[in-house]
Symmetry: C2
Subunit: 407 residues, 2 copies
């Protein structure tokens, strides 16, 4: 494949590339010298639960692998094991070495669903960072100025509004950047929100006499709500370990406005075909639902195979298009002793199904009108429900439970 | 001696004390527990050449020693051996370990002229700083904020005027402060220009669960010009290794306005006596010259003993009060072959005496009217001088040379 064709593949979906010229040169050099490029991705060491938001970057890494290059996944275990010395940051909780290794194992399992494990190196940055002493840290931090660091958006906002920034927070981006020096990265990938840190790596490589890495930033994928970043905490995500029918159903629930964006970032469907879809929807020639089904089928196939995708599609049709119940609904056993006069407070009943996480979520779902019992909506939380064997409880469009009431 | 008397001695000449209450408490506790206080002074590891400016702080340390306490001189060898990683700072040139040890030896010799060596510990901060690793540095730097660091005057000025501050410069004050943690300092001394750094030490001790050190700041001593800080580079200093007659003469050259300040900071003359002097000079009852002579005698006695002081005084009288030549004038040999028709250009002649450092200094001295030859002023640099054996050359008030002209 000639270099321009390679470039076209690699540029697809990319938000910003610094710089295209350098990437081209690196691709050419790699070909001449017969050496693979080192493509870096930095990872948080906290427990991973990978969803399609992450897959945008991972699929890009896979493209590099398919072109013969090597992927370095850098696990930031060093910072993870330090935690946050001020104890203020919840997201930077201190991990034990065991937790870090355990998380890394989970990463490996999940990544192998997208990446080629033979061309993926999983490395821990404690390998080099724990060797640094005070004198190394001084050298490293002499290579960056306070003013430039304060340009990072979150720092500048906090500084201006008088919120404290501890000095060690200036060291973290340098450490992340130093990872690029340590592995001699040719290219680093990241989300657009990582631009500052990615540039620090580029800067430090120059300071340490290396060729600066190319930076490739991928867009942040919107979640099921079509507005916010896909994330676990917002519960608007499609996990790559989701069951086929959940995955299928979730894709079917995205707003039409996201269809072509998902095609671009989550599939290999050629761009001209995607443009054609866009046009046909704009001109109202095709029902967007058809494209959504195709998208759902492609995505489920990628993670679970063709058979599972076909099965999920059938199931979806049964339940949603034809209004029928899904084939296997989980049973929830309610004990007689938990009932009073055969009745249970609706909030407790919904919570007991396990379809929600807490009483308060149950309450919220009921108030939102998302709860049906035997196909009848229940919107009041001040109700006791007569519980019967075989009762079907449904929350939202896709969550079902069947009550089992032993005699 | 009761605690209040001790306090009165220790407070003499002090510019700022943080806090007097804490110092009192520490003195009380030391007495109760029978343990000496640890009094810290941080020192630059570059070649020392101690002058009376330094002695202000050293004399204060000596007072602590006389009250039974211990002095810790912390040599900042760690920073010295790193140098300035950006290579921009001339004052922070990189020293070898050997140079550091050599300088420390010089320090020890010079300090023992003021301090009690039995109660003086000379320690190198590389002892603890070279053990710090990245994780320790992160912990240390988490204990101070960027905003507070930017309050330091030089940093805030540079930041505001857009001059770069490298991040490692934020680590230096933390290192100096950490020295206080490492030796568990009870008190730290320094010049008023060190206030920020001294406070960092106090802050870090609290963060590391120690009782915060008391900070005692001494005023910056003006040099012979009466205006600028006494310093070697301004050549307005009295070195503690100066010859008795030079030391005496230099003290005699200070402006009258400095007399009582020197008494206060450089001698043990009681304060009420100093106040009396001040008054009598204000009321023109006494010629300031008399006090200056007393000051000169006291200072020379401190560093060279009574006999040397008496000798220096006599010499001073001979030369200045009675207009006679000093007793031993260094001879300078001028060779016949360096003359033309027995003459020499005045600039070369003055330079040849070795009383000035260069032709350009010779030129300047001549133009200033500071040069006499056989008691006759020569102000033109366009003159050739007939050189004769026994000729007396004088520069300023105190520098003499006698020409020796071999046949």
């Amino acid at each position: 494949m000639d270099i321009n064709e390679q470039l076209n593949i690699l540029k697809r979906g990319v938000s910003e590339l610094i710089t295209e010229k350098e990437l081209k040169k690196k691709l050419e050099l790699a070909r001449e010298e017969g050496r693979p490029l080192r493509v870096k991705l930095g990872l948080d060491p906290t427990a991973p639960d990978i969803h399609l938001g992450h897959s945008v970057v991972l699929r890009k890494l896979k493209q590099f692998q398919d072109l013969g290059h090597e992927v370095y996944l850098i696990i930031g275990d060093f910072t993870g094991m330090i935690g946050d010395p001020t104890g203020k940051s919840v997201t930077r909780k201190q991990l034990t070495e065991e937790e870090v290794r355990e998380n890394a194992k989970t990463y490996r399992e999940q990544f192998s669903k997208i990446l080629n494990p033979d061309k993926t190196k999983l490395v821990f940055n404690s390998n080099w960072l724990s060797d640094l002493n005070l004198s190394d840290v001084i050298e490293l931090s002499s290579k960056y100025t306070v003013a430039r660091m304060l340009e990072r958006e979150d720092f500048s906002q906090r500084y201006k509004s008088g919120k404290p920034i501890s000095i060690h927070e200036f060291i973290y981006p340098l450490m992340q950047g130093y990872d690029s020096v340590a592995i001699k990265a040719d290219i680093e990938l990241g989300g657009t929100d990582q631009k500052f840190n990615l540039l620090v790596g580029r800067h430090l490589q120059k300071e340490f006499g290396q060729k600066p890495q190319v930076i490739m930033m991928m867009p942040i994928l919107e979640g099921l709500d079509g507005v916010n970043k896909m994330s676990k905490s917002l519960d608007n995500y499609i996990g790559i370990n989701d069951e086929p029918k959940d995955m299928y159903g979730k894709v079917m629930s995205i707003p039409d406005s996201l269809i072509t964006r998902y095609f671009e970032l989550l599939t290999d469907v050629p761009e001209d075909k995607i443009n054609e879809m866009k046009k046909s929807m704009e001109e109202d020639r095709v029902n967007p639902m058809n494209f959504k089904k195709e998208l759902a089928r492609i995505i489920v196939t990628e993670y679970h195979g063709q058979d599972a995708a076909r099965e999920a599609e059938k199931e979806f049709k049964r339940v949603f298009s034809q209004g029928k119940l899904p084939e296997d609904i989980p049973e929830v056993i309610i004990e007689q002793k938990d009932l009073e006069d055969g009745k249970m407070w609706i909030v407790h009943l919904i919570a007991a199904t396990g379809l929600v996480k807490s009483n308060s979520e149950a309450r919220r779902m009921i108030k939102q009108g998302a709860v049906s019992i035997n196909d009848e909506k229940h919107k009041s939380i001040n109700e006791d429900i007569k519980v019967e064997d075989g009762m079907i409880i449904r929350i939202g469009k896709r969550r079902f439970a069947k009550i089992k009431l032993p005699d």
